[in-house]
Amino acid sequence: MDTPARLRPMLRAAAIMLATAVAGPALTGTALAADPIRIGSVVSATGPAAFLGDPEAKTLKLYVDELNKKGGLLGRPVELVLYDDGGDANKARTFATRLVEDDKVVAMVGGTSTGATMAMIPVFEEAGIPFVSLAGGIEIIEPVRAFVFKTPHTDKTACQKIFEDMKARGITKIGLISGTDGFGKSMRNQCLKVIGQYGITVVADESYGATDSDMTPQLNKIKNTAGVEAVLNPGFGQGPAIVTRNYAQLGIKLPLYQSHGVASKSFIELAGPAAEGVRLPAPAILIGDKLAAVDPQKPVVAEYKTSYEKATGQPVSTFGGYGYDGIQLVARAIASAKSADPKKIRDALEATKGYVGVTGIYTFTPTDHLGLGTDSFRMLEIRGGDWALEAPAR
């Protein structure tokens, strides 16, 4: 059998590739020093949650590169294995299994939505691999699971921050208008759970559909309820913007509190002049340049903002910040554990104390895998179409 001459180089290449593929695992086994530490991630870089997942993915890539520039961890390079679930929790779970079984990651930072995170948790719990989630839901860390941590604030923290502010201002009776979407519902429930501790009662409790375009009937009802001293709107997306506009249209003069769900510039744009005077809790990153010089988070936030904006040409967002804190927490844990063993990384993560991040200052304990207090939120007020830092009303 004679092979045509021009095919020979190709065959040779194929043979070499085959040989490498077979010998591959054996080689990496011996060359341990150059073996990278693999950190896994599954985020929703595309799909409906892309506005959350895209900055997360970019941040993770940016800071893994950064780690490698500084010589990696434990003298080994760090490799980020990143998958995009497109906003589909089923896909997220498939990728989670792949990360554990094929990619052999030692830790995982990801899970853009609460749904995707919950779908992936069993995989990592079973494999005993630490999983730092970037999603908001409180069910991720309550009840505490041995290997699951998370970086974003929960709705509960936001509720507590808002109620602290209300209490300091002597507000005791509020009207509630919540979205019926997942975010609005969850936050309403969390708020109702903790509201009693602040001596505040809900005297009007209204809701609206996530896609509604007019909330004046509900607000009118609150307006006509006797004794309401402030209104709180747990919601996400365009709903709060419409609530804010309708609020101004009806001429309601009571303080309006929005949630951290609208802590972005686009809320001010959508709500327009009606947003003046609206108060909301937000993480430090939103107002990096307005933080006091002594604020421990100021340098961290400034560094992240500069690096991210230089690398991507896009403005920083809270969501990318969750990714930043996730990867930093894991990197710190690997360094302090002096090992890439998942169990030891987990123990080191749980021992994290006073890590100053973009989102807040984290201190994990065996009973608290979020590690953020209400001080991680800043109370902001919208003034002149921009965020203004509220002096703590005490």
Partner: protein
């Protein structure tokens, strides 16, 4: 009293938007028997198109006009590329085609525009006008005025122009219309184009109130469809009355009963009406089809 007025204003504003979309349904249904589930997406194209053209520096009227033209083009393409080739297929098939078209339009809009919510500045300022203890936004008057103007214009067009009569004739009997020399294909294209224009115009006037995003069409399609069904599919007056009724029921249910069940109340009313008047409120007057 002031509460009643406030709710009525809200209901009429929202209802006028539903009515405009219901009108679009009616027009296409009349000409072609197709229930066009991409109707709400014309509203989105009108709103998003205007937002992005204004962001590019064009003044509002010019931006709105271009967005309107774009929507008409999409309407014509929808007819030419999706409905026309399937001519003769059953209504269910055609409905499925329009649902597919709607998904396609949303997908493309995500890429052309973006995935964020956007708003337009109100045409005549944001200062609410006080009326009898309640307030109404100037933009609400724009929405209601546009709805009224379009209804009158559409009525005059259908009843008092030759082309309008041709549309009605095509609806009544396509074969007979062809035999008397009506260019049926042209009439159908006209219906799609006009319907897209009405939808897009609704989008332009409603966006300062409702805000807009690439996927907002789904909601509008559902409400507009409900309006058209309640009024009696195929009857322009019915679509308008149906739209206003749904808007009013929704707001009164939210204001006086419970905001949690406002959609349920509205749809329950529709079910009841259709139970007793299967052809809708004005259905008996619609053209009998054999």
């Amino acid at each position: 009293m002031s509460e009643f007025l406030q709710l009525a204003f809200s209901g009429l504003t929202v209802g006028a938007i539903y009515a405009l979309i219901g009108l679009g349904f009616t027009l296409i249904y009349n000409a072609s028997d197709v229930i066009n589930f991409a109707q709400g997406d014309f509203v989105m194209i009108g709103g998003m198109g205007t937002v992005f053209l204004m962001a590019a520096g064009l003044p509002l009227p010019v931006a709105a006009l271009i967005a309107l033209a774009a929507a008409v083009l999409v309407g014509l393409l929808l007819h030419r590329l999706a409905i026309e080739p399937a001519r003769g297929a059953s209504p269910v098939t055609l409905i499925m085609i329009t649902i597919g078209a709607s998904i396609f339009i949303k997908g493309v809009s995500q890429i052309i525009f973006d995935k964020q919510f956007h708003s337009l500045p109100a045409f005549s300022g944001d200062t609410p006008i006080p009326v009898g203890g309640a307030t109404i936004l100037p933009q609400s008057l724009w929405v209601m005025g546009t709805a009224l103007a379009l209804v009158v214009a559409l009525y005059l067009f259908l009843e008092h122009t030759l082309v309008g009569k041709a549309v009605l004739a095509t609806a009544a009997n396509r074969l007979a219309a062809k035999l008397v020399g009506i260019n049926v294909a042209l009439v159908l294209a006209l219906a799609f184009g006009l319907s897209a224009a009405i939808g897009a115009l609704a989008g332009v006037v409603a966006t300062p109130i409702t805000l807009t995003r690439y996927d907002i069409g789904t909601l509008f399609t559902l409400k507009g469809f409900a309006a058209a069904m309640l009024g009696g599919m195929g009857n322009p007056v019915g679509a308008v009355v149906g739209g206003l009724l749904i808007g009013l029921i929704e707001t009164f249910a939210a204001g006086y009963l419970s905001s949690t069940y406002k959609d349920a109340v509205a749809f329950l009313m529709i079910l009841l009406v259709l139970l007793f008047l299967p052809r809708g409120l004005f259905g008996s007057r619609s053209v009998e089809r054999v």
